[in-house]
Every structure is written in C-alpha cells, then in structure tokens.
C-alpha cells in the first residue's frame, strides 16, 4: 500500500511540475503571437497574408493535428485501463499523424522559400516563420519523444512508469494542439480575411 501511495505521489508531482513548464511555454507563445500581430502589416512591398495563405491547406493541417491529439488521448486512456495493444496503436497513429502534419508544414515553408518569401524578406515573414516555426520545433521534439516512448512501451508495456511517462507526453501534445488552434485562427483565417 505504501509503495502504491508513493508511486501515486510521484505521478502527481511530475504532472504538476510538467504542467507548470507548459504554462511558461504558453507565455513564450504569447510573446510570439503579440509580435506577429504587431508586425503582420509590415510586408515592405511583398505579398500580404491574404495573398500568401491558403485556408484549405491550413484546415487540412488543423484536422490532422486535432486527430493526432485525439489518438494520443485515447492511447493514454487505454494504458490506464491496461489495454496495452490499443495504447500502442494509439501512440503509433499519433506519431504518423504528427509526421504528416510536419511534412505539410515543411511543404508550405519550402514553397514560400522557393518563391523568395524567406524570413529575411520582411517583418511580417520574420514573425510568421518564428511563430509557426517554434510550434513546428515543438512538434518535432514531441515526435522524438513519442518515438522513444513507443519503444519503451513495446519493451516494457506493463511497467508502473509507463502510465506516468505516457500522461506527461499527452499533456505536451494536447497543448500543442491548443496553440495551433490560435495559429490557425489568428495567422491563417484572420490573415486570409485582412
């Protein structure tokens, strides 16, 4: 009993500590959002947001990331109910969807670059690439994390630590989707309208 209580305590502490890190991460993005909103008019003769962004492309990215957030949540839930194979499928699917999202983002960045819309071009593009790129960097780190977690789950699916490790990654991944909701709205949708 004592052992179980201790494990539960460790789990709660890790959750709270990681949650506080995520709050500071949100503050980082708040700064980047504020910068983007202030600078987005500064195109210095280059194309504006409405000329550059395709809302349907952004919609595809949003749906892919939302689905990955869902599969990730299901994986964590399955692990809590000791359904190891469902957890593995859920996490595997999360990695695949995350890779698809990252590939879409890379494709968009590459297109902008090949047309000469680099992040050195003007203030609008600098702030755009910094904001969306920082999110993409978080996604990349999340994918490395998820892959190592997947390896851990395959090797020791019944270990006590599995649930704790999984729940921390799930928090991270859900927050990346929450940040993307605002990127989708403020950068892409409002960009198309302005």
């Amino acid at each position: 009993m004592n052992h179980v209580a201790h494990a539960h305590d460790k789990h709660e502490t890790a959750q709270l500590g990681f949650w506080l890190y995520l709050m500071t991460d949100l503050m980082l993005f708040a700064g980047l959002f504020a910068t983007y909103m202030v600078l987005r008019g500064g195109t210095s003769g280059g194309p504006t947001a409405s000329e550059l962004f395709d809302p349907t492309f952004a919609l595809t990215e949003t749906i892919v990331l939302l689905l990955s957030s869902f599969t990730c949540g299901i994986a964590a839930l399955a692990l809590r109910y000791k359904k190891q194979s469902l957890a593995l499928w859920g996490l595997g699917l999360t990695v695949v969807l995350g890779l698809v999202f990252l590939a879409l983002e890379m494709k968009e960045f590459a297109e902008f670059y090949s047309e000469g819309h680099t992040w050195q071009a003007n203030a609008f593009l600098s702030s755009f690439f910094t904001l969306v790129g920082t999110h993409g960097l978080h996604i990349s780190i999340g994918l490395v994390w998820a892959s190592t977690l997947l390896g851990y789950l395959i090797r020791s699916p019944h270990h006590d630590d599995a649930h704790r490790k999984m729940s921390l990654f799930t928090l991270f991944w859900h927050f990346l989707d929450i940040i993307w909701v605002f990127i989708f709205t403020i950068v892409y949708l409002l960009g198309v309208l302005s």
């Binding site: 709050m23 503050m27 909103m37 919609l59 869902f70 989707d177 909701v181 709205t185 309208l193």
Partner: protein, 121 residues
Amino acid sequence: MKQNHFKKEVATYVWGLVAGLVLTLLAYGVTVAHLDAPLTLIAAVLLGLATLQVITQVLFFLHLDSETKPHWKSQAFIFTVLMIIVVVVGSLWIMTNLDYRMGMSGHAMEEYMLRQNKKGF
C-alpha cells in the same frame, strides 16, 4: 464495470473530437463564405470559436474540471491565461497607439499633445 468506465471515458474524447471538428469547420466556413459583415465582427466570431475550442479541449482532453483540491493546475492555467491577455492586448494597444502618433505631421502632433495636456495626466 471497469469496461463501462472505459467506454464512458472514451466517449468524452469522442465528444471532444467532434466538438473540435465542428468548431474548426465552422471557423473555416465563416472565413471562406465572403460574408457581408464588418471585419471586426468576423474577427470577433473567429476568436470566439477558437476560445470555445480551447475550452472544449481543456474539459474533454485535459479533464481540468475533474481536478481534485487544491486545484493547482487550474489556478496556474487561469493565471497564465490572464498574463497572456495582458501581454497580447497590452502589446497591441501600445503599438497601435504608437503607430497612430508617429503617423501624424509635426503640427498635428503638437495639437494632439496640447489636447492630452488639457485632459491632465
């Protein structure tokens, strides 16, 4: 019994996903529909939809509503949201104001300053 609990919890995730999809498609629809409405109104609707989606995700995916006392996570989250509003709205306020004043001619600036002085600080 345990199987029932599992199904119930899966259902909250499914509802979260459905709500997310509906809100995302609604926001997309509002954007591409070429509505005959002022831009500020459409922007307010879009930001409202985004906020709704965040609330549904916080409830259905992060389960912040079922947190036990002393609610540290919720407190930290609400405080962070407040700070974000201060940073973002504050930055926009200051920079728009600065932009407005820097765009004036010398004469208009002088009159503006005199008007502000009369109001008192």
